[in-house]
């Protein structure tokens, strides 16, 4: 249940609320490609991550090899191989920061819809068969915010498939799309992240996540895809992934909106 408008009028840009003023293109005539929710100006400011990047965390860099940060993670015997890899859609530039601030902190839940198609595509392309798992909020934070942004992103993987997508999955002999499972819960309340230094954040040893007791579900030898808004240091995702791997998960990957 997420809608940009209760009137179904898509003529204004979802972010800056100015008229979109777009010329009809092939995209809007063919139902295969839903029209963008943004005006050209906003759309052009979003920078997709393309070109060479770190094979593990998708940080953009001159060559396709594992970045220094990831090498450090991989040298920690505790966390080595915990997160198979992360794929981010966009760079964390000004407009992305503004969008995420309006979405998470101002509470504009429906803004997530901007990213719906690209999250679905990324998931369907690389991760069908992987069980989508949102990064949970503490119950206090969830009441404060009114929604969990990771949950919204995870839900996009479960949207009904278009006919051509079903056809593609069939011809590729891909696995079906499993339901989103809120397998993790957050038992330690989020502290104000910004008040901690990057180093403190990296060093905080305690793991705030737990496998939810509400599910009688065996994690063993299954594949999981975590969904979250930003990959900054990768700490949160690794802590969440650790819980799944501890219980025998075969592979844990992540899809994030932005690479900070």
């Amino acid at each position: 249940m997420l809608k940009a408008s209760i009137a179904d009028s898509g003529s204004d840009c979802m972010f800056c609320q100015e008229p979109k003023n777009e010329l009809p293109s092939w995209g809007t005539l063919l139902p295969l490609f839903p029209p963008s929710l943004l005006c050209n100006n906003c759309e052009n400011q979003l920078k997709a991550i393309a070109g060479p990047s770190c094979a593990i965390c998708s940080r953009p860099q001159p060559v396709n090899e594992v970045c220094e940060d990831c090498k450090r993670w991989e040298s920690d015997p505790d966390l080595q191989g915990i997160l198979d890899h992360n794929r981010s859609l966009y760079r964390y530039n000004n407009i992305m920061q503004e969008m995420i601030a309006q979405w998470k902190y101002r509470g504009d839940a429906a803004l997530a819809l901007i990213f719906r198609e690209n999250i679905r595509k990324l998931y369907l392309h690389h991760y069908t068969g992987y069980i989508p798992v949102p990064i949970p909020l503490s119950s206090k934070r969830l009441i404060e915010r009114g929604f969990n942004q990771s949950q919204l992103l995870a839900d996009f993987t479960n949207e009904p498939l278009a006919f051509y997508e079903k056809w593609q999955l069939l011809t590729r002999k891909s696995s079906p799309v499993p339901a989103v499972l809120p397998l993790l819960e957050r038992t330690i309340h989020e502290e104000k992240q910004s008040k901690k230094s990057r180093r403190e954040r990296l060093l905080a040893k305690e793991n705030p996540f737990q496998l939810s007791s509400a599910f009688k579900f065996s994690v063993n030898s299954k594949n999981f895809i975590l969904l979250d808004d930003i990959y900054t240091t990768g700490t949160t995702l690794r802590k969440a992934a650790k819980r799944l791997k501890e219980h025998g998960a075969k592979s844990v990957c992540a899809i994030t909106l932005a690479r900070g």
Binding site: M1, L2, K3, A4, S5, I6, A7, S9, S11, D12, Q17, E18, N40, N41, C42, N44, Q45, N93, N94, I95, Q102, R106, G107, D108, A109, A110, L142, I143, E144, R145, G146, F147, N148
Partner: protein, 514 residues
């Protein structure tokens, strides 16, 4: 968080309370339910309680309607005040027959309401996307307001300003004082560069001395930042707050509030005098919402002053019909006439840009300015055109810059233009107001495009000739066909230049108060 209509043991009228504040002896008449599903209750009478002296809550809530998270209190802390009627609560969204209306910004366009699955009320929650930057108001949100005595301010305020008014300014300042005293309405129509801030000083002083609260609303944050220190300097005894997107002063109770239009939306029944700067600087849709926000922020019988160089047609019509008093300042502070724009046909420029070239006259104009180091604005109709032109010019002149509203380096580029390291600034209409650079000249590229309205063109021409030392300068509209807006803009400037600078006919005030 659910709410109920409750009859308290010793009362005859029901009050709206959060479920958590209801006690055993209370009689629940409606609810518990999401607050917007409960009918609106009439405001309860102001309680005659002197015992509970609560400056903190009074300061935070007086004259405003705030979300719980903005009150800095928990529901438990608010409970005794809610039960005593010192704090009251209303729904943030009012149901209408086509959806909802937002109590804070008055948005009622269904296209501007979103829907999400809400963890607070466990339901599908509709929320206003129009004022989302101030925090989400949804169907389960309540707005809290102060229902006790208002805070009082010292009337011992005196103006410390030793500047000299031009004759036009003097007349306008007098009219403003009169308007404030009579709680009337007034349009101050002052050309760009007339010095319209100073003429407010005596009026604001008069209002504050009478114990009134004054709101100065402006569309732009940079105006708040510019006016705040100036007003603090000239009115040192007054308590003044500046409110804009990122300001820290939201909770300061002040007798003079300088706020961006968005910030005025938080106020209700709070001001005796309201001054609205650049009323026309809003896109059409935002305009009505602004007017409503200001209507809500001011008290019923408040004085209202509109301040602009380019009044909207709505305001101009009211002036013609003599339903809106007006005072005009047709002459700049330095006494020189406004530069009159000239029109220059430049051929089908879209084709030329596609080939990576500028139309000849535009190229000549740019080169002349860059080579002679004379600062020049080149206004363009869109970001796409901006990027094309900037690329073309940068091939030859690497120091020129292009700016638009989404530009991350906007401030540093404008600074470079101000200090002369960047000789020519290509810009979208974002810089049509505000930025003033002595000796600058201006050109509009593609002046026939819709985005260049009469008021935009007048404002652009107003960038030129601002300083006493260089009161003239070139304003040119490059076009492929004259539009009504272009002609109207030139007519507007010529009319202002022809108007007698000091004539009494520049002021029309109602002889009798309505």
């Amino acid at each position: 968080m659910y709410f109920c209509h409750v009859l308290l043991p010793d009362k005859t009228e029901p009050v709206c309370l959060p479920e958590l504040a209801v006690e055993e002896k209370d009689v629940i008449q409606h609810g518990p339910d999401v607050i917007s599903s409960l009918p609106d209750l009439p405001p309860p009478p102001q309680p005659v309680l002197a015992s509970e002296h609560t400056p903190f809550l009074q300061n935070v809530l007086y004259g405003k309607e705030l979300l719980l998270e903005e009150t800095q209190c928990t529901l438990e802390e608010l409970k005794p005040f809610l039960r005593a009627g010192l704090v009251t609560v209303r729904a943030g969204l009012i149901p209408t027959n086509k959806g909802y209306q937002c109590r804070r910004c008055h948005n009622s366009d269904p296209a501007r309401f979103g829907l999400f699955s809400c963890a607070r009320c466990q339901k599908g929650c509709i929320y206003c996307r129009y004022c989302i930057m101030m925090g989400r108001i949804s169907t389960c949100s309540a707005l809290f307001r102060w229902n006790g005595a208002p805070p009082s301010f010292s009337p011992h305020i005196s103006l410390l300003w030793e500047g000299v008014f031009s004759k036009g300014q003097k007349r306008a300042a007098k009219t403003i004082i009169q308007t404030i005293k009579e709680k009337d309405e007034l349009l101050v129509w002052a050309v760009c560069g007339a010095g319209k801030t100073e003429i407010l000083f005596p009026g604001i002083e008069t209002a504050l001395q009478s114990g009134a609260r004054v709101l100065l609303a402006t569309p732009r944050t940079d105006v708040v930042l510019e006016l705040l220190p100036r007003l603090r300097r000239v009115l040192p005894e007054a308590i003044i707050a500046g409110l804009y997107g990122k300001s820290e002063e939201k909770q300061v109770p002040a007798q003079l509030v300088i706020a961006t239009t968005h910030q005025t939306m938080r106020f209700t029944d709070a001001f005796d005098t309201v001054i609205i700067d650049e009323v026309d600087a809003f896109p059409y849709t935002a305009e009505t919402s602004l007017v409503q926000a200001v209507q809500k922020a001011k008290k019923k019988d408040a004085a209202t002053i509109y301040l602009t160089a380019t009044p909207t047609t709505t305001l101009q019509k009211r002036v013609q019909k003599h339903t809106l008093p007006v005072t005009k300042i047709p002459r700049r502070y330095h006494g020189h006439p406004l530069p009159v724009p000239r029109f220059q046909w430049c051929g089908p420029w879209k084709k030329r840009l596609k080939k990576g070239r500028l139309p000849k006259p535009v190229q000549t104009w740019c080169e002349k300015h860059i080579q002679s180091q004379m600062p020049a604005f080149l206004f363009v109709p869109s970001v796409n055109v901006l990027e094309t032109i900037t690329t073309i010019l940068k091939k030859y002149y690497s120091s020129i810059e292009g700016v638009h509203s989404g530009d991350e380096d906007r401030l540093s580029k404008v600074a470079a233009f101000r200090n002369g390291t960047c000789p020519l600034l290509v810009t979208t209409t974002i810089l049509e107001r505000g930025v003033t650079v002595p000796g600058a000249e201006a050109a509009v590229f593609g002046a026939e495009e819709d985005i260049f309205t009469e008021s935009a063109l007048v404002q652009i021409a107003g960038r030129v000739g601002r300083s006493k030392e260089q009161p003239g300068g070139d304003v040119v509209f490059f076009h492929v066909g004259k539009t009504n807006a272009m002609l109207a803009a030139r007519r507007h400037i010529l009319t202002m230049n022809k108007a007698p600078a000091n004539g009494e006919e520049n002021t029309y005030v109602k002889s009798k108060h309505r």
